[in-house]
Subunit: 202 residues, 2 copies
DNA sequence: AAATTACTTGACCAAACAGTCAAGAGTGCG
DNA sequence: CGCACTCTTGACTGTTTGGTCAAGTAATTT
């Protein structure tokens, strides 16, 4: 049955899902293999260790997400709309996941990063890089908004940082309370942090 | 050597530290016993399981923290000062921990809550309750501030919610970036969210 | 057709794991 | 003193863990 197929992708998908639904520590190589329908020998043919697979899930999920973010944060879209679309995108993801597994799962990136940061520097740094990319999207939209006279853009970096933290906090809060309410308020909260002038929201 | 001493407390302390420094999943009962200098039989004399011990660490640490928070959020203190003292308290804690173990550890409550929420409802709910208590401190200080004419208090609950999320996000961010900078900006960020009128800050 | 390559398989290992238990040992009380 | 209670101990069990490996199988190259 050699040289077949999508074994590697199935492993990445299974690992991503399991870590998101539960946690890195409680997800064993055996669980991942079971869900992927793959024998353990194959696992170690493709990946050195669980940590290496986790890194692969980060790269893979980021590569997929980036095209969507490029759409949402397209410089062609009005700045306020970018944030609204982003919030809608996040909410949609969370609703879907809650319907599928019965729990609000929050952000796989933050959860994994938070869990492993003091134990696995490679994973920690990669998560940090990806979060930094999100920051870039925010900062660029803020600059566009202030250039258009829609908001006070005197501190774009600081404002973008606060947005990052707010999104991060909201998803963690939603996971812990197992409640989508904070995510439903995400758009409003982001716009409040941006202090966009009323005209921009309409 | 029976009927001695502080075995139970040592177990709670060891579990708290280990979970904070690494994570719940990577902390085994054996590790906890080792650090506490206690044999495993004793562990199971006091606690049914690791999950029960984790719950005890939550209760224990919250009981200790609450007296400090009552000081900080004393209705006798000016509202703005309460938030500044709180931010200083958080920073102090994080600096201490980073010096001790070389990593920014973030908040044990958020990290644990985030990690176990989809697997252990008892722990999840307890973490949620404790976070809710923090929210109460914030909301009460906000009401006091608005009553004193220091800020717009039209949405005290919503503002307190944003503060909670911001603090939570900041500590998670600090842990992931292994950098205290976000925590050093905590006071400023909290005051920005509160939009306290300049007079209140001076 | 033969050799190489890329993948799969299932059996295997030692270590770590959560949890149990019977036999003590120190303390306080009658 | 001796009983009862609380705690401690170390040896134990069965399972799960991450990880290895030799043998096989199918496509690809030569």
């Amino acid at each position: 049955m050699a040289r077949c197929c999508d074994t590697k992708e199935r492993l990445i998908k299974a690992a991503y899902d399991l870590i998101w639904e539960s946690s890195y520590g409680s997800t064993s190589v055996d669980h991942i293999c079971d869900r992927a329908g793959v024998r353990k020998g194959s696992f170690y043919h493709f990946f050195e260790s669980k940590s290496h697979l986790a890194l692969a899930t980060l790269d893979d999920s980021w590569a997929k997400k980036v095209t969507r973010l490029n759409e949402i944060f397209s410089p062609l879209a009005p700045p306020a709309e970018r944030f609204e679309k982003f919030a809608a995108f996040v909410l949609e993801h969370q609703v879907e996941q809650k319907e599928r597994i019965g729990y609000v799962c929050g952000c796989p990136l933050f959860s994994l990063g938070c869990e492993v940061s003091t134990q696995d520097d490679r994973l920690r740094l990669r998560v940090g890089e990806i979060l930094e990319q999100h920051h870039r999207y925010y900062a660029s939209a803020i600059l566009d908004a202030s250039r258009a006279g829609l908001m006070d853009g005197s501190q774009p970096e600081e404002t973008a940082r606060m947005l990052s933290i707010y999104v991060q906090g909201t998803l963690t809060q939603a996971r812990i309370s197992n409640d989508l309410a904070p995510v439903r308020d995400l758009a409003r909260g982001m716009l409040a942090i941006l202090s966009l002038r009323p005209a921009a929201v309409a």
